[in-house]
Amino acid sequence: MKGQIIVETEDLTKKYGSRTAVDHLNIKIEEGEVFGFLGPNGAGKTTTLLMFLGLTEPTSGRAKVIGFDPTREPFKVKEKVGYLPENVGFYDDMDARQNLRYIAKLNRISGGVSEKRIDYWLEMVGLSEESTKKVGTFSKGMRQRLGIAEVLIKEPKLVFLDEPTIGLDPDGTNRMLDLIHSLSREKNITLFLSSHLLDQVQRICDRVGIMINGNLVAIGPIDELAKKKLGLGKEDYTLEEIYMKYFKEA
């Protein structure tokens, strides 16, 4: 742990009419860690991410992302925070490189720098050879990899990934997890990923948070949660066991 707090919330709440999507969320993420954000569908994970990016306003409470309030200064947050939504979309009639170039331009990355970065990240995600193919012809896995490259073009400090490995084949999944892991270890990028694939989360995440019905019911390193929920001394636990225990209690 590097100790520096990169995401911090204070009673962050979002209500849609009478329904509370996120209820008094208090969370702290440290720089450089891989944080897994778990929870059933509709638990408020995506809403939380949207509030972190300033795409939706919290009803009450505050968030601080890389030192800025996303509601007041969304611009500063978006400059240094990447977001890969679930089933990311592309301009299908443009090729991979053109898609990346467009995003680079929107991030005010100058021409020379952006071409270098595009080459580098296309290489990293293994799409160099497909860079001039129309994205419309890409497979699901290729799109997901291109999405990762697109998020990293702006050299973010923090990346939100929503289901980054869904729909990938086993080999693709492994490569994606390795890439995520190396981003955290080598480039000191903080990764915040929400996923349902618990075995994968267990493999790469330093800490996890479990959100159920808008409430954060657990947060901490996986082994600590295991100790707390499954009793001391149990060695061969899985994250799934822990998760199901929390889920049944909630």
Binding site: L55, K76, E79, P85, N87, G89, Y102, I103, L106
Partner: protein, 321 residues
């Protein structure tokens, strides 16, 4: 500003590469060329051995020939052009899931909608200016008359009014593309509005005026005061439609013989006689004065429409699911 420029460039590229743009501009250019050749030849025929009357150049645009005039064609087809260019501008990005990506880039959210609107306006301007230039060139060849300063200024004003008017329809269709998730729904909704304004408002106007101020035949003929009231009500009601505003403004600007935007002109036999004997075109400035209220109204509804569109878009929450 940076975001607007980047998105604007991309949108322009998209327009130019799209089959839709190609088809629309081909259609407009084709119709323009056909109408002009027919009208041009007719004018040429009529003018044989005559002194050329003033402001003949504008006849290329306003005279109907066998079919319809270019101005009428743009009046009818212009709204469709605006609708075609805008009806899927926002919901296309929503369906392809690129909108959520776009809004998470460091750009102001309004630059998306501004750039989309501006690129549509730019495309409309390109099509209009190109067609008017093409027709002018063809007309100069066919009729052999070079337009004077006044004719050129009238044409420029015509293009500006048309641009504003078509932008109004672009605004309507972008508004629907923000509101409706499906492109087909937004296209149909825009077309419904278009049909409403083009057919039903004038129909409704005549029904209303018949109901409020019926013209009854009496022994001494039609009561002129009643007739005037009837006309006034019909006119005021049909002014609700942007189409009426536009067609009145453009016909007045392009035809200097017209001294008013009104359709009903009561004239005694002497006045009629003097009209036919002494042709006195209105100076440009006075034509402009006559249509200024129309132009302001068109600008106002265009801005209003885009304003609503802007507000709705800014308040929408953009989710990925």
């Amino acid at each position: 500003m940076h975001g607007i420029l980047t998105i604007f460039r991309k949108e322009m590229g998209d327009h130019f590469n799209s089959l839709r743009f190609l088809l629309i501009s081909a259609l407009i250019v084709m119709v323009g060329v056909i109408i002009t050749s027919m009208v041009g030849m007719a004018i040429q025929e009529e003018l044989k051995g005559m002194a050329k009357p003033s402001l003949i150049f504008l006849l290329l645009f306003t005279s109907t020939g066998k079919l319809f005039s270019f101005v009428q064609f743009i009046g009818f087809f212009g709204p469709l052009l605006g609708i075609f260019l805008g009806f899927d501008s926002i919901n296309r990005e929503r369906v392809s899931r690129t909108l959520s990506k776009l809004v998470s880039q460091p750009i102001f959210r309004d630059s998306i909608i501004n750039a989309k609107f501006l690129s549509g306006v730019a495309i409309i301007a390109i099509i209009l200016v190109a067609t008017v230039l093409l027709i002018s060139g063809l007309g100069i060849r066919l009729v052999g008359v070079v337009p004077g300063v006044e004719e050129v200024s009238r044409l420029v004003i015509y293009v500006v009014i048309s641009l504003l008017y078509i932008s109004f329809w672009l605004g309507i269709s972008i508004l629907f593309s923000v509101i409706f998730k499906s492109a087909a729904t937004s296209a149909l909704a825009s077309l419904a509005i278009w049909i409403f304004f083009s057919f039903f408002v004038s129909l409704g106007a005549s029904v209303l005026s018949d109901a409020v101020a019926p013209i009854s035949q009496t022994a001494s003929g039609v009561d002129p005061e009643m007739l005037i009231r009837h006309e006034r009500i019909q006119r005021l009601t049909s002014l609700v439609s942007p189409m009426t505003l536009y067609s009145e403004a453009t016909t007045t600007i392009l035809d200097p013989m017209r001294k008013t935007t009104r359709t009903l002109i009561l004239m005694g036999p002497l006045e009629r006689f003097s009209m036919s004997r002494f042709q006195s075109p209105l100076p440009l400035l006075e034509s402009i004065f006559i249509v200024i209220p129309h132009i302001i109204s068109i600008v106002a509804i265009t801005l209003l429409c885009f304003g609503i569109c802007y507000l709705v878009f800014m308040r929408q929450e953009i989710r990925t699911v």
